[in-house]
């Protein structure tokens, strides 16, 4: 029976037993010794070193080594960044190397309520460095490079309103000026040649966006979009603005905190509440109350805010009604009036503008300049288009169309653009159909504006 004896397997038994034992040890080792524990121990050492009293020292020594997390159920996330970034709330750690550096600016956005990833992106649930910073496969939201951090403000706040995010405001300005809406819809308004931009910030990386603006065909083969010529600053700004369009909406508590009292909000309120009925700005408006052009020079902000809260308290006997403004509204209106003083805000009140002036705003709103050029002067390339391989300018539309024909043309669009050479690919840019997107009143104003473009005195008589 010797050939069957189990004794000859003893060697195997040892080997396999040891193998399983070794593997268990390796598994334990890899599980137990994770990077964050080292960071925490370094931090505790540093705290002990800095302790100036025995109580502080005892407190530091008794700090447990454990995963720390911020639970944000409203935002549907859990942020464990503070497992390594242990000193974010301690100003005395300013200037320390990461991960022990202090994080400023959390007065309005306390970490317990906002966490980290809502602004910085990344993978909050992870506890290893690379995974947490999010630049890994199968995670769509890597950390935002710091230069673009203002994009995150745009998720909750209006771009133009936020004094703490000037780059974001600039980005929105560039967006409006360049007429991107002519081809791309954003927030429901815009053309249909290119894709909608409502969630572009969640889908595209900064690198992709940069390439896209400079050479669209390199990232989207066959793209109709012409390469954009931005200055370096404007390019960064518009990338930032695009990154802010993530399609996230701030829930509950966060939405109520959303509005920063701001000049443009104030302007909107000014228009909405009809202040121009009693007060004048420039040569427009009523004479019942004082002119407001220089009110910012005459009255301090606190007076103005109180005036909005309750006019009688600062102007006893005034006929100005109490409007019941909220605190935010009062501050917004005050900000607007202060801006009048600084002339930072172009005063455009639709009810007082001429149709052509309003039409100019419509032209701007829908981004017509993206194809028809700034001030409708043309110059945007459209390869192989019969119209001199460019998108035609609109200065002379008054000669070629009646107003109704023009409106029809805008509503219907033109899908097929006559080509110069049938052998070459068809012209990539075409006119979207704006029916259903542009309102009737806007259409009228737009036609008025376009008709007003013809230089005075010319009559080419088409």
């Amino acid at each position: 029976m010797n050939d069957l004896s189990v004794r000859r397997f003893y060697g195997w038994f040892t080997v396999l037993g040891l193998l399983v034992g070794v593997l268990v040890v390796i598994g334990y080792y890899r599980d137990e010794y994770r990077g964050w524990k080292d960071y925490q121990r370094k931090f505790i050492q540093e705290e002990i070193r800095r302790a100036s009293t025995p109580q502080q020292r005892a407190l530091a020594e008794s700090t447990p080594v454990q995963i720390r997390q911020i639970l944000l159920s409203d935002l549907n996330r859990v942020d464990r960044c503070t497992t390594c970034h242990l000193a974010v709330e301690d100003p005395t750690y300013g200037g320390y190397p990461q991960p022990l550096a202090y994080h400023p600016f959390h007065e309005q956005h306390p970490f317990e309520r906002f966490g980290c990833t809502i602004c910085h992106r990344g993978q909050g649930r992870a506890t290893t460095t690379t995974d947490a910073h999010g630049d890994v496969p199968h995670w769509d939201h890597p950390m935002l490079p710091l230069q673009y951090i203002q994009a995150s403000c745009g998720q909750c706040h209006e771009a133009a309103d936020n004094p703490a995010a000037p780059e974001l405001a600039r980005g929105q300005q560039v967006f409006e000026d360049s007429g991107c809406r002519g081809c791309h819809k954003l927030n429901g308004a815009g053309g249909v040649i290119g894709p909608e931009l409502d969630k572009v910030g969640a889908r595209r990386s900064p690198e992709w966006l940069k390439k896209h603006f400079l050479a669209p065909a390199s990232v989207t083969p066959g793209s109709a979009m012409p390469p954009q010529k931005f200055s370096e600053t404007n390019l960064e700004a518009i990338i930032l603005f695009m990154l802010s369009q993530t399609g996230e909406s701030a829930p509950g508590y966060y939405a109520s905190m959303k509005v920063i009292p701001s000049a443009s909000e104030g302007q909107r309120l000014f228009q909405q509440k009809g202040c121009i009925g009693c007060h004048s700005i420039g040569d427009k408006g009523g004479k019942v109350g004082p002119a407001l052009d220089d009110v910012g020079l005459r009255r301090p902000p606190e007076w103005m805010i109180q005036h909005f809260r309750d006019p009688q308290t600062v102007s006893p006997g005034t006929v100005m009604p109490g409007f019941g403004f909220t605190e935010t509204e009062a501050r917004a209106l005050t900000d607007f009036l202060l801006h009048l003083r600084d002339q930072k805000v172009a005063l455009s009140l639709p009810s007082l503008m001429s149709p052509a002036e309003r039409g100019r705003e419509v032209f701007r709103k829908y981004g017509c300049a993206g194809c028809h050029g700034a001030d409708a002067k043309g110059g945007v390339p459209n390869p192989n288009a019969k119209t001199a391989e460019q998108v035609p300018g609109l200065i002379y539309v008054a000669d070629g169309y009646t107003k109704d024909e023009l409106k029809m043309r805008i509503l219907k669009g033109q899908r097929e653009i006559p080509a110069l050479d049938a052998k070459r690919p068809p012209p990539p840019l075409y006119m979207s159909a704006w029916a259903g997107i542009i309102k009737d009143s806007e259409l009228d104003d737009l036609a008025a504006y376009l008709f007003s473009l013809k230089p005075k005195g010319e009559n080419l008589g088409f």
Partner: protein, 428 residues
């Protein structure tokens, strides 16, 4: 030298009063004890007292059935542990998978063990089926055990498929979308079956709940019961198949005809063949220790392999499931890729007829095979036709699976995997 220390300790313990009350027989020292121990223990009494030496040969059975049993045990153990954290909610499941990886002690290793043991189980169930076929071990009297085996094969696929959905990531979501769509192609019952599986029309919370129930209780219980019957039948059919077995001789052995130079305790009374009794006693050896020790070794080997895979390779976890963002192409789990390839030719013939015929053929196989000879030997000459047909089908299945895995790209078009993939325009 004396016996090693662990053995001596155990021998001492099993002679104490407490030890004797639990382990009626300590470590067996005599043949009598070796016989008694196999029936004294609940866990051990599945095994016979004596086993034919041929059955011990690793080169014969490759231990595949045992490997499957061990994998099932590992899967059950790790699965139960995972149940302490996992919640089958579309809102929570994915985050919990992340937490298992990042926050739970040993979470990553245990999840990996579960995943790799699952894949290994599907692979080995195929290998075991091939082994049983090629050794003709499904022939009389083992036909029904083969049918139970086919049932277990389908249960294994079902367990793997239902578990596949649970992480609720892109991989899971779309694999199950493809899989249930294939199921929906069956005539008449297809759409109803799909509706029942999904608890609706889409892969959503209902589907997740149902798949979870199937995966943790319904299918494992069914599998456990079938495994029990499967093993019991192995015993009743006279142990593993082997060559020169007195195949279909049904003997009515009256007790008084047994030779008297051996004493026999009545362990069981069974109908059918009783090949050990009165036949070549010197070819049978005691299960303790010969079989039991080999089983222990195999268990260590399987554990080592699963642990090794779990420690060095992570189970996949892609992005959160996103119904509006299908990957291109969306692929079923690997064991269904051959099927998906067939479906790409024809939904009905490829997705329903061919697999349906295959499974039916498998189940009826032992009854269709009239050849009695060739049991207990690999690739027996007498069975060259049967072996060839089976091998051809096997090769076709493997080739289809390989095609589906590596040679199909976006829109299920052909790609050559070793050439540069085309530039990715979508994404980052």
């Amino acid at each position: 030298m004396n016996a090693p220390l662990p053995k001596r300790i155990w021998q001492w313990f099993t002679r104490t009063r407490v030890g004797r009350s639990i382990f009626r027989i300590g470590l067996p020292e005599s043949n009598l004890e070796r016989s008694q121990v196999m029936v004294s223990s609940f866990l051990l009494h599945v095994q016979p007292v004596k086993v034919h030496r041929h059955s011990l040969r690793a080169s014969y059975s490759l231990g595949l059935g045992l490997i499957l049993l061990y994998l099932f045990l590992i899967l059950t153990g790790t699965g139960v542990l995972l149940m302490f954290y996992y919640v089958p909610s579309t809102e929570k499941a994915y985050d919990i998978m992340k937490d298992l990886q990042y926050v739970v002690s040993a979470g990553l290793v245990i999840r990996n063990m579960h995943r790799w043991a699952g894949h290994l189980m599907v692979l080995f169930v195929l290998l075991h089926m091939c082994r049983v076929f090629y050794t003709g071990a499904y022939k009389r009297p083992r036909e029904f055990n083969w049918v139970i085996g086919v049932g277990l094969f389908l249960l294994t696929l079902g367990l793997s498929f239902t578990g596949y959905l649970l992480p609720w990531d892109q991989l899971a979501f779309w694999a199950i979308t493809v899989g249930t769509n294939i199921a929906g192609y069956a005539p008449v019952i297809g759409p109803k079956l799909k509706y029942l599986l999904l608890g609706g029309n889409v892969v959503g919370q209902e589907a997740l709940t149902r798949f979870y129930a199937l995966h943790v209780i319904v299918l494992p219980t069914a599998a456990l019961l079938m495994v029990a019957v499967h093993l019991w039948r192995v015993r009743k059919d006279g142990g593993l198949s082997r060559p020169d077995e007195p195949g279909d001789i049904v003997q009515q052995i009256e007790l008084k005809q047994l030779p008297t130079n051996k004493t026999y305790g009545l362990m069981e009374l069974a109908r059918g063949t009783t090949p050990q009794v009165g036949k070549n006693p010197e070819d049978e050896v005691f299960a303790w220790p010969h079989l039991v020790f080999r089983e222990l070794l195999l268990f260590l080997l399987v554990t080592a392999v699963v642990l090794f895979l779990a420690i060095f390779w992570n189970a996949p976890l892609e992005e959160l499931a996103n119904p509006i963002h299908p990957p291109n192409p969306a692929k079923a789990p690997w064991y269904f890729l051959g099927l998906q390839e067939l479906v790409s030719y024809s939904a009905f013939w490829g997705g329903v007829v061919v697999p349906g015929l295959l499974v039916t053929a498998l189940m009826l196989l032992p009854y269709m095979d009239r050849q009695r000879k060739g049991v207990g030997r690999w690739f027996a000459r007498e069975r060259v036709v049967a072996n060839t047909i089976f091998s051809v089908c096997l090769v076709i299945a493997v080739v289809l699976t390989i095609i589906g895995t590596s040679f199909r790209g976006p829109n299920w078009g052909w790609v050559v995997p070793w050439k540069q993939p085309p530039a990715i325009t979508e994404g980052h």
